[in-house]
């Protein structure tokens, strides 16, 4: 048998629990709404590209004007023809300049080449700065950091002339050679390696290992996350690079994919369906890499805070 006071207390308690629960639910709804708004604003332009890449030109125009949800979300008459034309599959694309499969290949080759070369050369340079003993090493590192501060666009003119004089201009190597040793990457890797305790090296020396063996057996296995992070940054940089290849390459057969996509905006008006498909194809590799390696990507964002 409960007294009135007890009953009151119980009711008050229940009310409080209910109110707390309501507050929790409403805040959850609020957060979700916030997400929804941000995602809609943020993702709409991308939807526009993807949505239009699976329609033919007629359909794109029919849906683009006047605007409605149909402009963004394709619902009928979907076709992959734009993609196949973009990749040069089928007869229609032959003889037209829509085929970007070659350009995709060039971009992929140059990005992979830079990443591989950079892993070899920058890792060994970072090993020098981070682990080895050498008089005056810190002065050299200061020099490296200083060159890192200079924006790329500012040195493009002399870089062009130097590249021209050693015969790089208008060749595939113009997209690889200037970038494989990057002061920024060396600096980042040096930071990663400096985090490793020096005792590891000392123990290896006692076991009779030489410098090369220490690099391979001790340092590299312990800096793998750092190596993945810088490889990701480098791949993205080369893949998305537009400015330098635009200057350095004038032969359309050697265009990397970004320049090839830009060149599809012709005077006579682009074929929109194919342009949208080409855009999607040119963005896909880096997006996929980033989605699978998100953890390393966030590390690289934090790392890019060091540059400046």
């Amino acid at each position: 048998m409960k007294t009135d006071a007890q009953m009151d207390y119980q009711a008050e308690h229940n009310r409080m629990i209910r109110r707390a629960r309501l507050k929790k639910i409403s805040s959850a709804i609020f957060t979700l709404l916030g997400y929804a708004v941000i995602i809609i604003i943020f993702i709409t332009p991308f939807l526009y590209v993807i949505g239009n890449s699976v329609r033919n030109s007629q359909q794109i125009w029919a849906n683009a004007y006047p605007i409605s949800w149909r402009s963004f979300i394709p619902y009928e008459g979907l076709t992959l023809e734009n993609y196949s034309q973009s990749l040069g599959i089928g007869d229609v694309a032959k003889g037209m300049s829509f085929d970007i499969s070659r350009n995709l290949g060039i971009s992929l080759l140059s990005s992979v080449a830079v990443v591989c070369l950079s892993l070899i050369f920058n890792t060994s340079a970072a090993y020098f700065f981070g682990r080895l003993r050498f008089p005056g090493k810190n002065y050299i590192l200061i020099f490296v950091v200083a060159t890192m501060m200079i924006p790329q666009q500012v040195v493009l003119v002399p870089l062009y002339i130097v590249a021209d004089q050693i015969g790089l201009i208008n060749s595939f190597w113009a997209m690889v050679v200037p970038w494989y040793a990057s002061p920024f990457i060396v600096f980042l890797l040096t930071q990663f390696m400096a985090d490793l305790p020096l005792e590891f090296d000392e123990a290896a020396i006692i076991d009779g290992a030489n410098l090369w063996q220490i690099l391979w057996r001790v340092v590299i296995p312990n800096t793998i996350p750092g190596l993945i992070t810088v490889s990701l940054m480098e791949f993205q940089f080369i893949w998305n690079e537009f400015y330098w290849p635009l200057i350095a390459i004038s032969d359309s057969k050697l265009f990397p994919v970004q320049v090839a996509v830009a060149s599809q905006f012709t005077e006579s008006g682009p074929n929109w369906g194919i342009v949208f498909a080409a855009m999607a194809l040119a963005s896909a590799p880096v997006i996929l890499l980033f989605l699978f390696l998100q953890r390393y990507f966030y590390e690289s964002v934090a790392m890019s805070g060091i540059k400046g």
Binding site: S27, T31, L32, G34, Y35, I38, I39, F42, I43, P45, V49, Y65, P66, I67, I120, N122, S124, A125, F128, L132, F134, P135, I140, V144, T147, M149, I150, P151, Q153, V154, V155, L156, V157, P158, L159, I161, V162, Q165, I166, V177, P178, Y180, A181, L211, W239, N240, F242, Y243, L246, M279, S283, I287, F290, Q294, Y298, V301, S304, G305, I306, G308
Partner: protein, 350 residues
């Protein structure tokens, strides 16, 4: 007495020198690791800069491209003429024979562009990070994946998409305004020439900014805030909740908590991000070059896009080199000012 101390000093010196040479000899193996990357950096980073400094004082033109420093036979015939500081003077006093070139306007526009962009990036980025900083982040993976997009998608493609959206007749923005008119019975002008109109929308002191400035500003804000949100979210999650609980007990309002706890504690993470963001925005080639192309009448030209045009359209290599050195000096001053401001505010908070 003096003699002996001198002797011992020289002995000490030669001892130190010996030690230095010995350590060099011992570290010869280390050279092998730096040499390949070091040589390339000398060639690709250091040498072009020296070359650029020399070019800036010459009238290097398209005919001089046949000049090759590695081939002495070309020196006589194709070497550019030295012109002293003429290039620098022409760049700064705007006496180049190029349409719509005005150095002071370029610099002013570039600074206004940078400050307004970074301001909105930081404010919006932090506000959104605060709004989304729930204890249990629903769909955190999705949200993080979406924020990756602006980095992952090539700048060129983002810029084209936005240029498309600002199209006068078929662009999404004007059409959306039309829809808004339809829904609410308003009468907003739906025939806005976002990128072409030379008429400044705001008069007075801001009348040097055409409508296209606001258009690219919107596009670049959209592009830039996720970076600040990612950094701010990371910093917010490392703030211990006890601080807010203690503040609540002391009777601090939400506003006070924001300014006394949140802002000072995310500051150390935000400052480097702001510095990076400033340099990026200052040199944001893609957004300007592909959305407005510097127009109308060169009013939205940045220093970087102008430098590009000097090389690619005008082919004035000597002038472009001088221009690049001026840009570099501007950037250096900017970085130094930024460092000063950062240190000053740090001292204030400590």
């Amino acid at each position: 007495m003096a003699e002996t101390s001198l002797q011992s000093q020289t002995q000490k010196q030669s001892g130190a020198a010996n030690k230095f040479w010995r350590s060099i000899k011992e570290s010869l193996g280390a050279w092998a690791y730096i040499a390949p990357a070091g040589l390339l950096m000398m060639f690709i980073t250091f040498f072009p800069q020296v070359f650029q400094a020399w070019m800036a004082f010459t009238d290097y033109r398209i005919t001089n491209l046949r000049f090759n420093i590695f081939n002495p036979e070309t020196w006589e015939a194709f070497a550019p003429e030295m012109v002293g500081f003429e290039n620098f003077i022409r760049v700064i006093t705007s006496s180049l024979a190029i349409e719509n070139y005005d150095f002071v306007r370029l610099l002013t526009f570039n600074i206004v562009w940078t400050i307004s962009n970074v301001f909105f990036h930081v404010v919006l980025g932090v506000i959104i990070a605060l709004a989304l900083n729930a204890k249990t982040l629903y769909g955190r993976r999705i949200y993080r994946a979406i924020f990756v997009l602006p980095w992952a998608i090539p700048g060129l493609i983002i810029a084209f998409t936005w240029a498309n959206m600002f199209d006068r007749r078929f662009g999404a923005i004007n059409q959306l305004l039309g829809l808004v008119n339809e829904w609410f019975g308003w009468a907003i002008n739906t025939d806005i020439r976002w990128l072409e109109s030379a008429q400044p929308p705001i008069g007075g002191i801001l009348s040097f900014l055409p409508l296209s400035f606001y258009a690219v500003l919107i596009a670049n804000i959209w592009l830039g805030w996720p970076f600040m949100t990612v950094i701010a979210t990371g910093a917010l999650q490392s703030i211990p909740t006890e601080l807010y609980e203690a503040a609540k007990i002391d009777g601090a309002s939400g506003w006070q908590q924001l300014w006394k706890i949140t802002v000072p504690l995310i500051r150390p993470a935000m400052i480097p991000a702001i510095m990076v963001g400033t340099i990026w925005t200052f040199n944001n080639f893609n957004v300007i070059y592909f959305i407005t192309r510097g127009g109308p009448f060169g009013r939205t030209e940045l220093l970087v896009t102008q430098a590009f045009k000097l090389v690619y359209e005008q082919r004035l290599y000597g002038v472009a080199a001088a221009f690049s050195i001026v840009v570099f000096i501007v950037l250096m001053i900017l970085t130094l000012i930024q460092n000063q401001v950062t240190h000053a505010t740090e001292a204030y908070y400590d």
